[in-house]
């Protein structure tokens, strides 16, 4: 069982797409220790463009958790990617976020999941920075992390 899992891990490479447009700045720049200290996994963060936008699925898979301000997509290989739209945005209780998919839906990478406005989040006094996390992944398994400008749907990092 364990061996089969290792073999599968060794053979797979997950391409994680940028869920939003903006500047990829790295997790260390996120103003929240859960993300900046990579407590839930490695990855990066995107400082989003301050315009109404749509967060897309970073990988293909099932939406196992969907909150207005955050979601988790788990691929068929069991790997989960978390997208968190802004920091402390749970406090907004969904205001300003529109769900474009439902928990339990199967989505393909690039499919719209949540519409939101980073400018409105910032105007409310919160950071709109979006951590994108390879949940529970070993730090060294995340590579080719893009820095700088990305459009939604661009390659963000590889998870080996």
């Amino acid at each position: 069982m364990e061996l089969a899992r290792d073999l599968r891990k060794g053979a797979s490479l997950t391409t994680v797409l940028a869920p939003v447009a903006g500047a990829a700045i790295g997790l260390a720049a996120v103003p929240d220790p859960v993300f900046s200290q990579a407590m839930v996994g490695p990855g990066t963060a995107i400082d989003p463009r301050r315009e109404p936008g749509t967060a897309i699925a970073p990988i293909s898979g099932t939406i196992v958790k969907l909150h207005p301000h955050a979601f988790v997509v788990v691929g068929d290989d069991g790997r989960g990617v978390l997208v968190h739209l802004g920091i402390d945005t749970v406090q907004l209780k969904g205001e300003g976020f529109t769900l474009l998919a439902a928990e339990g839906d199967h989505v393909t990478a690039g499919q719209p999941v949540v519409a939101w406005n980073p400018a409105a989040v910032e105007a409310g006094g919160r950071s709109p920075v979006c951590p994108v996390v390879a949940l529970d992944a070993p730090a060294e398994s995340v590579g080719d992390v893009v820095q700088g400008d990305v459009d939604a749907g661009d390659l963000l990092f590889q998870w080996s």
């Binding site: 859960v34 200290q37 407590m39 839930v40 958790k65 979601f71 988790v72 749970v90 949940l135 529970d136």
Partner: protein, 78 residues
């Protein structure tokens, strides 16, 4: 491995010490009566990835199972 709800309650100083537990997608945001009763080492042993305390607000980082763990805790403490 999912964190253990019973052990998290104990690490937070027991059910009587817990005012509120609110799940965010990666963490439990809890408010306690007495922060000195919170045992960070016990919370980590219970499966928490990390613990952040500011006054009486204690955030227990448990990963994406936070929702499930929070409802387990609420079921136990009523």
């Amino acid at each position: 491995m999912a964190a253990d709800a019973e052990a998290i309650i104990a690490g937070l100083g027991g059910a009587d010490n817990i005012i509120e537990v609110e799940p965010c997608i990666t963490r439990l945001r809890t408010e306690v009566h007495d922060a000195s009763k919170v045992n960070q080492a016990a919370l980590k042993a219970a499966g928490a990835h990390g613990v952040m305390a500011a006054g009486n607000v204690v955030q227990v980082v448990v990963g994406p199972e936070a929702d499930t763990i929070a409802s387990d805790i609420e079921d136990i403490i009523g």
